[in-house]
Amino acid sequence: MGYISAQNVTFAYENNEGEEKNEVLHGVSLDIKKGEFVALLGHNGSGKSTLAKHFNAMLLPCGGKVYVDGLDTMDEALKIEIRRRVGLVLQNPDNQLVASIVEEDVAFGPENLGIAPPEIRKRVDDALKAVEMYDYRLSAPYKLSGGQKQRIAIAGIIAMEPDCIVLDEPTAMLDPRGRDEVLHTIHKLNNENGITIVLITHYMDEAVGADRVVVMDEGKVLTQGTPREVFSQVELLKEHELDVPQATELAWRLRKEGYDLPECVLNSDECVAALEHLLNR
């Protein structure tokens, strides 16, 4: 069993009358290992965000089980323990900051956990340094850019010293520069601090850097594997109206036209190298 283990999870949102149910997850099983970087892909309505909210007991499965570090999310008494271990970062950076001073916002999580004040101070400083926002510790959040705010939100999670961070489309509302900042931060946390990352996104290019890519469609896992394994199945992804990274798409189309290119090209560097090789022959 992985660090996070979803076992045959089904989930349905109740509608307003509380009767009719709209099932969004139909038996999802997924294991996430400690220290892994998993990208969860899928278009709107595929159930990827719903699944993510099961990872820290924000939502509870209607059927099946979710275990975090061996703890059952259905157990009400373990809720706080689970949320301390698995942090969730949301899409809109503006709506998840609580305090009007950066360092006080980062302190919010540890304060809730009842940690001693000197220890909180240390954790806040460390967390802000980890996301490279230490110099802004006394600023007001509304004066920061979207990317900076999202990094503060990540710092607020790190200060709780979690084992895993789940990010629900953290870059969807950011400009390209903010997106790069956030991705850089996430990768750094994964590499240097060994924090398990689950990145939910619909930007295929963001998924290329992950250890494993899981593609969701209509409440089920469509396919999963290393980015190379997943993105070589261009036809399957296209069938389900999903994109592949641009470089992959270009190489795939050229291959279809009969050019001799490698099976799967993941990023622009690989693509350039392959094309150069082809042209120089």
């Binding site: 301390r84 809730n112 007001a140």
Partner: protein, 274 residues
Amino acid sequence: MARDITLGQYIPGHSLIHRMDPRVKIALTFVFIVFIFVASNFEGLLIMVALMFAILLMSGVPLKQYFKSLKAILFIVIFTGVLNLFYGSGHVIWQWKVMQITDGGICNALFVSIRIVSLILYSSVLTFTTSPTDLTDALERIMKPLKALHVKVHEIAMMMTIALRFVPTLLEETDKIMNAQKARGADLESGGVTQRIHAMIPILIPLFVSSFRRAYDLAMAMECRCYHGGEGRTKMKQLHMTNLDGAAIACTAIFCAAVIFCAAKFPAALHELR
């Protein structure tokens, strides 16, 4: 788009007044306000005004700022001052039909005006030198004993913190919505009062809808960060009383004693209505 919004009236600084414990500042401000009314004659009031000027100078906040805060209440000062002119006994200085100004009335007007001005200046010192977060923090701690009376102290403080946090966000949002509606041909500037109020509806409705969405998101984010009410919560920033606060309290006590002494020794300044 993002305008520079001053939250509250806080003016950052490192003066002695800035460095005081916010709890002590709130308590002393309360004491000052009470003693402005305990001072019943010019001698006592003079002491309070002298103390006030000393504090204003110590706060390191430009005096211009204090004048600005007075400007807002200038009308009230003049209004009450003029009213008081006509209430008082003593030698008649000026008379027109039933209206008359006496030397006692002038005295009253002066006295009341000084009281109001000191009241405002004393409370300005508090808001100028204490950040809104420190204020809510201190209030939470001062009100803690009320928990025994089932007052939701932590919740009130949390709501104040969140409200302060979202003021600039919502202002920015209002700006955006107004521009969006203007771009669609909404006329917000012309017409009478009723028309203008009508024109606000297409701005307020989207603002409300988005506020509820924000509230939903924020509640989820707070839960994700293990928020479960005030039980077992700690605070990163601890408030400490230092020698500075002790000195301030002692100083205040001496001045207050002087005011009480004056009140007992000298006759009251306010002249009763005949």
